[in-house]
């Protein structure tokens, strides 16, 4: 029989402890002609509609007075139903829960509702999935799926064990993580580290189908959460450090059979580039650029893996996702722009045909995988509501890109960068700083940001109430020396010795509230450790995130709040997962987060790496040598609610 051990190792909550204000820069009032105020003011001009007047004044006065007009793409962001069926919450990837029982004034009363131990002690990056009365948790390798009954206090109902190949543990670059399952039409879809996709019945936990689409003997693993839309399950491969060739595959949700597969390198027919491909910038036009922007044959082992987030616009029927770094890291082995790595693809979901592409880091020098989330928003650009995607790029620029065309409207730095000097909006190209480019046979020092970027995979959240994007990210720099890497299938293909450390100011993490319309930060919270957890925004104007030493924090979402800490609690292990919020069977709002430190930044704890070697874990260990003294391995779900 199974024993579910509950050990709430909670330090007492310390409400309002260490309240901090950091760098408050309120949005300029003069730009306040937003869609919401616009509409309200137009109605208000007609004096007969008194009811609307009341409604509008209530709506517009406190929030819209500063609201920038950004809102999630309506078709991709359905109304709140109290569930959390995919890690990104909706196709627009807002990670926003409309539930508002937990507010800025009562969040300090949050109490533990229940806990659940996953019995796994590797890095937990997955988001809990909530459907009806059930919650589903996916664990790191060996990728178990737990089903918990929320109407019975979170009791385990079944566990699915897919038994992935143990050898896959040695192929995964950065801990044996998994980023979660997705629910659709009565089924759960998830991936295993050894490259298999599973569909299981959400009620019974029985397998519906499985399809092995990755090959670990080539260095391919799968860590991402699938996105299911229009009857397709979208999954890509990981292994950008192993000389794999990146791809995104679409499987039929009913049968698991391959519908299409789009490679990130190689000839146009493999990349699914056809007549409908209309990139905005000239550098992305031409035949077979996925071959010609590489040395001979290098595209076959050139990376461009797809292991991050996918968004979907049901109106345009387009998916948006980013491609990973080119291989090897040593850029001198691959002269050229290395298409189509480190960029964003827009594709037709039915056929996989590419519509546009934008390359954030042509000829990537620093492992700047472009796989971060794209938040689909409609917001005013030059006074006109425009469908855009907003993405905090790994290279440190906050991109605002037209969803229809791929045109970049703005790309402002949201962290400290000295290896690049802005993005030229006319050509779309990022300007590289020559002195910071790694060269064989020497060590370049103080490159900012690091290979892990200003922000890695951990996703941000967008609140339609404040119009702000909440970005958990890093502030680190590195020394890098590159050398010629040899390709041996199934082994690392990197060619770099790296050593990372804290960036200017000495803090390694930052939580930024970013105004995507005005393209600037509203407030920032400095964190000692790099942030590796996702963010959660809620209708009560409270945002949540976790730190790698196990603090789970609630922050005032408002621009005026300046990043005020409202509540925090210390949990048993560091947090690198994605917090979620849902309405329980009793009608109350819950906030759930999984602990379990690990991942690239936390492998020093979860894999017990030796800090005497500063290059360990691709140089990350040097920056994290204090972590083993601040947290321990874990893997527990914590669920909080207000007292009844």
């Amino acid at each position: 029989m199974i024993q579910i051990s509950l050990f709430p190792v909670l330090a007492p909550a310390r409400p309002l402890a260490a309240i901090r204000k950091a760098g408050v820069t309120n949005g300029r009032e003069t730009e306040g002609w937003t869609w919401m105020r616009h509409a309200c003011l137009r109605i208000l001009r007609k004096p007969s509609i008194a009811a609307f007047m009341l409604l509008c004044s209530a709506f517009a006065a406190p929030l819209a007075a500063q609201h920038n007009g950004a809102r999630p793409a309506a078709a991709a962001s359905p109304p709140e139903d109290g569930q959390w069926t995919m890690p990104s919450r909706d196709y627009a990837s807002t990670r926003y829960s409309g539930l508002n029982q937990i507010t800025r004034s009562n969040v300090r009363n949050l109490k533990l509702a229940f806990t659940f131990d996953t019995l796994n002690r590797k890095g937990h990056e997955a988001a809990p999935i909530v459907v009806g009365n059930m919650m589903y948790l996916t664990t790191p390798y060996p990728n178990h799926v737990w089903a918990l009954d929320l109407s019975k206090g979170g009791r385990a109902v079944w566990v699915f064990r897919p038994h992935p190949a143990p050898a896959s543990q040695g192929i995964a670059c950065c801990d044996v993580v998994n980023r979660g399952a997705m629910y659709a039409n009565g089924r759960l879809f998830f991936t295993t580290l050894d490259g298999e996709v599973f569909a299981i019945d959400a009620k019974s936990g029985h397998q519906v189908w499985r399809n092995k689409i990755g090959d670990i003997s080539k260095g391919e693993t799968i860590t991402m959460s699938p996105l299911v839309a229009e009857g397709k399950v979208l999954v890509g491969n990981s292994g950008g450090e192993m000389g794999v060739r990146g791809w995104l595959a679409a499987l039929d949700a009913g049968t698991g059979r391959l519908a299409w597969k789009a490679y990130s390198t190689g000839p146009d027919k493999d990349v699914l580039i056809g007549p409908s491909f209309k990139p905005y910038y000239a550098s992305d036009r031409g035949a077979d650029l996925g071959v010609h922007t590489w040395p001979a044959e290098a595209w076959k082992i050139g990376g461009g893996t797809v292991w991050g987030w996918i968004s979907y616009d049901p109106q345009l029927k387009m998916i948006y996702y980013g491609t990973g770094n080119p291989g090897p890291w040593n850029a001198q082995q691959r002269p050229g722009d290395n298409k189509w790595t480190t960029g964003v693809f827009a594709r037709d979901i039915a056929t996989g045909q590419a519509r546009w592409f934008y390359q954030s880091s042509p000829h990537d020098l620093f492992d700047h995988d472009d796989i971060n989330e794209q938040v689909l928003l409609d917001m005013p650009i030059h006074g006109r509501m425009t469908p855009v995607l907003v993405r905090p790029g790994r290279n440190g620029y906050m991109y605002v890109i037209d969803r229809r065309t791929g045109q970049v409207y703005s790309a402002e730095a949201y962290g400290f960068i000295n290896s690049m000097d802005g993005v030229d909006l006319a050509t779309g190209r990022v300007r590289m700083v020559k002195e910071k480019a790694p060269k064989e046979g020497r060590v370049i020092r103080n490159i900012c940001p690091t290979a892990s970027g200003v922000k890695d995979w951990n996703p941000s959240a967008f609140s339609p109430r404040t119009g702000l994007l909440y970005v958990p990210h890093e502030n680190m720099c590195m020394d890098e020396g590159v050398f010629e890497a040899n390709y041996i299938a199934g082994t690392p293909y990197v060619g770099a010795d790296v050593k990372m450390y804290a960036g200017p100011g000495g803090h390694r993490g930052v939580f930024t509230a970013w105004d995507p319309v005005r393209a600037k930060p509203v407030w920032e919270i400095k964190e000692s450790l790099p942030l590796w957890s996702g963010a959660l925004a809620t209708g009560g104007d409270v945002v949540f995130y976790g730190t790698m030493d196990g603090w789970f924090k609630a922050i005032d979402a408002s621009a005026a709040g300046g990043g005020r800490l409202l509540w925090q609690v210390r949990l048993d292990s560091g947090i690198i997962s994605q917090p979620v919020s849902y309405r329980g069977p009793d009608g109350r709002q819950y906030v759930a987060v999984v602990t379990g430190v690990g991942g690239w930044a936390g492998a020093i704890v979860s894999a017990q790496l030796d800090p005497r070697d500063p290059t360990a874990a691709l140089g990350m260990v040097n920056a994290m040598r204090d972590l083993p003294g601040r947290t321990k391995p874990g893997g527990t779900l914590y669920v909080f609610a207000l007292p009844k």
């Binding site: 076959k300 040899n486 040097n622």
Partner: protein, 216 residues
Amino acid sequence: MSSPFRNSFLPRALPSLHAGRGRGWVRLSKRRFASLAHPPLAPPLQGGGFIALAFLLALAGCDREQRDMNGQPKAETAAFVPRGDPRSAEYENNAFHIAQGQKWFGWFNCSGCHFHGGGGMGPPLMDDQWRYGGRMEDIVASILYGRPNGMPDWRNKITEQQAWELAAYVKSLSAHPRQDALSARADEMSNTEPQTLQERQKVVPETKAQPSGEEN
């Protein structure tokens, strides 16, 4: 710098990376009893004897359902290279072999997983923990035959001599060989301390394997 795989872009399969896999779901809400297989009944066992046997089998069936959810993975200690190999002493304290091993360690991408001893994808090699044994023969066995949790096998890809030289270098990462054999300078460019300045790590053979997630 010339290297053995310089221009070989064609993927080479590592044949041993696949392992067996099992089946999926386990229902937890009901206690599941293993169905009792009917053994062929010998004549003297009919009647009272049969009932007693059935009772015992039923009890045994209950026992089989015990699941040790917090089970420790077993350390893999099967050595393919017999202990007491004379090459062990020859290579371990030889400066030339250690230096050669350091070269192979970079060329064959060992450093891509283990870095310069601190570990990453693979476990650290500079500490005193040895999942599969810390003797020269154990290390050579790990290199040549691979290990089930991700260490590829290098048989037929490198020579046996290279394997012994690699093992000598691996042992030097924990500063185990004689001081005058250790390298005072790392091949790698900037970041690690010379082994001659490191404290010698005690070798604990066959350390209990570190739990790698939950696997029963």
